[in-house]
C-alpha cells in the first residue's frame, strides 16, 4: 500500500483536472466520519474550485446516537456490579444530564475497548458482574458485534449483553434525498462499502437522480472520488463508480453480512438531529434476545432532551455549517461539547474546529 501514500505530484494534477472538468455548480455530500475528518485535515475544500460545494452528512455514528441511548447506558452503569464497555468517543457524548465519562469519575465502572471481543474476555474474567457492551456503528462495525453475540451464545456466557444502536447507511442516504436536501452526488464511505458491496448504491441511483462514487481516505483518493463524481454528474454515463477497487469488491463481504442477518433484523431507528428513519436500525433477533441489554435490564428512561440552541440536526443534514450554529466556538467547543457533532473527533463541528 506504500504507493497509496500521499504524493504531491498526483494531488496537484488531480486538482487541476478537477478545476478543468468542473463547469457547473454541484453539491457533493460525504456520509462518513473519517471522510469528514480527512477532508478537513487535508484541507480538501481549499483545493476545489468554487463550483463544487462539499457538505458533511450524518456519517459519524457517535453523533447520530440518540440522547436517550446515552441516558440508558448511564442508568445501566449505575446498577451495582455492572461493567460498561464502549468505544472511545462515546464516553464523552453528553446525555441529558451527564456522560459515561463523568459517571466513571463518580465511581461507575466504564471501560474503553478497541474491539467487541474484549467484552467476551471481560465477561469471562468477571463472572460475578454484568458486562454491557455499547454496540454502535455502521455496517463496517456491526459484523463485529454480531460475532460477539453469536460467540457468547455458543459459549453460553450468562453475564454479557449488548446495548445496541447499530444503523445502516442506505435508509439515511435515501431519507436525505427524500427530504429534499440538494445533493448531486454522494462521496460513498470506503469501509462501509467493504462490507455492503456496490449493490446498495446501484439501487439508490435507480431511485434518485444521483451519482455515487465509493472513495478511499488518503488525500489523492478523495480527490479521485471527487473527480469521478464531477465527470459522472456532468457527463452522464454510469452513476455508480468504485474508486477504491483494491479494497471494495462488487459483492462486498457476504459472510459478514450473513452473520449480521443471523443476529440482527431491521428496525426503525432514531438518528439524533434527523429523527426516526424507517428500517435504518438493527434490533437483536428473538433467538438472541437474552443478549439484548434493553430486554435484560428493562429500565425506564425518559425521552432525551436536546440542548437548547444546538443545531446538530441541521449540521448533520448539511443544511447549515458548524460555524452557523449559535453555540459553536463559544458554548460548544471540543473540550466542553454541547452536542454530539462536537464530541466525536470526526463529528462535523469538531473537524471544522480542529482543522480550520
Amino acid at each position: 500500500m506504500g504507493r497509496w501514500l500521499v504524493k504531491q505530484e498526483s494531488i496537484k494534477a488531480l486538482r487541476t483536472a478537477i478545476s478543468k472538468e468542473s463547469v457547473k455548480p454541484i453539491t457533493l455530500m460525504e456520509v462518513c466520519g473519517s471522510h469528514t475528518m480527512a477532508i478537513s485535515r487535508f484541507g480538501i475544500r481549499s483545493m476545489l474550485p468554487g463550483t463544487i460545494r462539499l457538505i458533511s452528512g450524518p456519517g459519524c455514528p457517535v453523533c447520530v446516537t440518540g440522547i436517550s441511548y446515552i441516558d440508558y447506558a448511564i442508568a445501566v452503569s449505575l446498577l451495582p456490579q455492572t461493567i460498561i464497555l464502549s468505544y472511545g468517543d462515546l464516553v464523552r457524548v453528553p446525555g441529558t444530564h451527564s456522560s459515561l465519562e463523568r459517571e466513571r469519575a463518580g465511581g461507575a465502572d466504564v471501560r474503553i475497548v478497541y474491539s467487541p471481543m474484549q467484552a467476551l474476555e471481560t465477561a469471562l474474567e468477571n463472572p460475578d458482574k454484568e458486562i454491557v457492551f455499547c454496540g454502535i456503528g455502521f455496517e463496517t462495525t456491526t459484523p463485529g458485534t454480531a460475532v460477539l453475540i453469536k460467540t457468547a451464545s455458543e459459549k453460553r456466557i450468562g453475564n454479557l449483553s449488548v446495548l445496541g444502536a447499530h444503523k445502516t447507511m442506505k435508509p439515511a442516504m435515501s431519507a436525505l434525498l427524500e427530504s429534499g436536501t440538494a445533493i448531486d452526488g454522494y462521496i460513498c464511505p470506503g469501509h462501509v462499502s467493504v462490507i455492503t458491496g456496490m449493490g446498495m448504491y446501484r439501487e439508490l441511483c435507480r431511485e434518485y437522480p444521483i451519482s455515487c462514487t465509493v472513495t478511499g481516505f488518503e488525500a489523492q483518493e478523495i480527490l479521485i472520488g471527487i473527480l469521478s463524481l464531477v465527470k459522472s454528474i456532468q457527463n452522464g454515463g454510469n452513476p455508480v463508480q468504485n474508486a477504491y477497487p483494491g479494497v471494495v469488491r462488487e459483492e462486498g463481504n457476504p459472510k459478514a453480512r450473513s452473520l449480521v442477518a443471523e443476529v440482527f433484523e431491521p428496525s426503525d431507528a432514531l438518528w439524533r438531529g434527523l429523527g426516526s428513519i424507517k428500517g435504518s436500525g438493527l434490533a437483536v433477533r428473538r433467538e438472541y434476545k437474552k443478549f439484548d441489554a434493553y430486554e435484560r435490564f428493562g429500565l425506564e428512561v425518559e425521552e432525551g432532551v436536546e440542548p437548547k440552541g444546538c443545531r446538530c440536526g441541521e449540521v448533520l443534514r448539511g443544511i447549515c455549517t458548524p460555524a452557523e450554529c449559535p453555540l459553536y466556538g463559544n458554548r460548544c467547543v471540543p473540550g466542553d461539547p454541547v452536542g454530539a457533532c462536537m464530541v466525536s473527533s470526526e463529528g462535523s463541528c469538531a473537524a471544522w474546529y480542529n482543522y480550520s
Binding site: 501514500l5 500521499v6 504531491q8 494531488i11 496537484k12 462518513c32 466520519g33 473519517s34 478537513s40 485535515r41 487535508f42 484541507g43 480538501i44 481549499s46 483545493m47 456519517g59 459519524c60 455514528p61 457517535v62 468505544y87 472511545g88 468517543d89 464516553v91 464523552r92 474503553i112 475497548v113 478497541y114 474491539s115 474484549q118 474476555e121 454502535i136 456503528g137 463496517t140 462495525t141 488525500a219 489523492q220 467547543v333 471540543p334 473540550g335 466525536s344 473527533s345 470526526e346 474546529y353 480542529n354 482543522y355 480550520s356
Partner: protein, 339 residues
C-alpha cells in the same frame, strides 16, 4: 519470620521496619554517601548562583514498560524539567507512596532503576520520604521527585521564549510518540505488540552539548503528555509569533504510525518522555542539528518548522497533502475510535 517480601502498613510507621526498608532498598540504590537520611532536608552548598527548583509526581501504569519503569521515569522527567529551564540539574528528592501488599522485590527494581538513571545523568538523589497506604488507596506505587538545579549564565529566561524571532528554526531531537506507543503495546488487555521501547531518558547532557555549542538557542521545552502539538501551541502563545510546521519533516517511527492507524490517533498528540523542542536562529540550524545528531539521544534530530511573522496567533501545520490547517491543543485524551 521468613522475609515476607511485601510492604505492610508497619513499613510506613516510622519505626525500625521503616528504617530498615529505607536502608536496604533506597540508600543502597542511591548511594549511602549521597543520601542525608538523618535530617528533614538536605543542606547543600555547591557554590553557584541562580537556582531552578521543580517537582513532579508519577503515577504511570504499567509500572514496568519496555524501555523503563516508573523509577527511571520519575528521575528522568524531573531532570529534564530542570534542563529545559536552562539549569544544570544537581539534586533530587525521591518520595514514594506505596500500596500495602506491593512486592519489595519490585520496589527494589524500581529504586535501582531510579538510582542508575540519576547517576548516569550525574545527578544525586539526596533525600526522600516513604509512606504506605492501605490496600486499594493507591495504584501500586506513586512517586514524587523534586529537583534543584543551577541556572547556566544567560539562560534564565529560556523557557519564556523572549528571545525567539521570526525566521528562527524549530528543531526536535528525534521521533514522536514512542513512549505512548510502547505503553500501549505492553498492555495486556489490548491485542497489539511491537519492539518499540519508550524514549524515557534524562536529556541534560544532550541539552548541555547544544547550548555550549549554540549559545543562541532561544527556547527549549520537553514534550510529554499531549505530544509536541501542546509544546508548539504553548510556544506560539509565549512568543506571540506565528509557527509553521511541515508534517512531512516530523520524524515518526513505523511502530508509532502503525498504532496511530489502528486506533485513529495522531502522532502529534502522542506522549513522549525523551523529546525536546528547540528554537535556534536560522543561521545556526545546521550546526545545531549536527551537535544533536552526535548525541545518542539526538540521532534522529530534525528541522520541523520555523517561526514566522505571518498569522502570529496561530500554529499552522502544512500537511503532506499540500494543504494546511491550524494545530490546536488536544482537549482531553485521544481515545481509540472506530470511525
Amino acid at each position: 519470620m521468613k522475609d515476607f517480601g511485601k510492604i505492610t502498613l508497619a513499613h510506613g510507621a516510622g519505626g525500625d521496619m521503616s528504617g530498615e526498608l529505607i536502608r536496604s532498598v533506597f540508600m543502597q540504590a542511591f548511594g549511602d554517601e549521597n543520601v542525608q537520611g538523618n535530617s528533614d532536608s538536605a543542606i547543600l552548598d555547591p557554590g553557584r548562583g541562580k537556582m531552578a527548583f521543580t517537582t513532579d509526581s508519577y503515577v504511570v501504569q504499567p509500572l514496568f514498560f519496555p524501555g523503563g519503569d516508573i523509577g527511571k521515569l520519575a528521575v528522568a522527567g524531573t531532570i529534564n524539567d530542570l534542563s529545559v529551564s536552562g539549569a544544570i540539574p544537581f539534586y533530587l528528592s525521591f518520595s514514594v507512596i506505596i500500596e500495602e501488599g506491593f512486592s519489595i522485590a519490585d520496589l527494589k527494581k524500581i529504586a535501582v532503576s531510579a538510582g542508575e538513571t540519576a547517576s548516569s545523568a550525574g545527578v544525586q538523589i539526596v533525600t526522600g520520604d516513604t509512606k504506605v497506604v492501605e490496600k486499594g488507596s493507591c495504584d501500586g506505587l506513586f512517586i514524587n521527585t523534586s529537583g534543584i538545579g543551577f541556572i547556566e549564565k544567560g539562560y534564565a529566561g529560556i523557557s519564556t521564549a523572549s528571545r525567539v524571532e521570526p525566521g528562527d528554526s524549530i528543531l526536535i531531537n528525534g521521533t514522536v510518540g514512542d513512549h505512548e506507543t510502547a505503553l500501549l503495546c505492553s498492555r495486556k488487555d489490548i491485542p497489539v505488540s511491537s519492539e518499540i521501547i519508550s524514549d524515557c531518558a534524562p536529556l541534560n547532557s544532550l541539552i548541555r552539548d547544544l547550548i555550549e555549542s549554540c549559545p543562541s538557542t532561544a527556547f527549549m521545552r520537553d514534550a510529554t503528555r499531549g505530544g509536541i502539538a501542546t509544546v508548539l501551541c504553548e510556544l506560539n502563545e509565549l512568543c506571540g509569533l506565528g509557527i509553521e510546521i511541515e508534517e512531512e519533516a516530523i520524524p515518526v517511527k513505523e511502530e508509532v504510525s502503525g498504532i496511530a492507524g489502528i486506533f485513529g490517533f495522531d502522532p502529534l498528540f502522542m506522549a513522549n518522555e525523551g523529546k525536546v523542542i528547540f528554537v535556534v536562529p536560522k543561521k545556526d540550524t545546521e550546526s545545531a542539528l549536527e551537535i544533536l545528531r552526535k548525541h545518542p539521544r539526538g540521532k534522529e534530530a530534525a528541522l520541523i518548522g520555523h517561526i514566522t511573522e505571518n498569522n502570529p496567533d496561530k500554529t499552522i501545520l502544512k500537511t503532506k497533502a499540500g494543504g494546511s490547517h491550524i494545530l490546536h491543543r488536544l482537549s482531553g485524551m485521544q481515545l481509540p475510535r472506530i470511525c
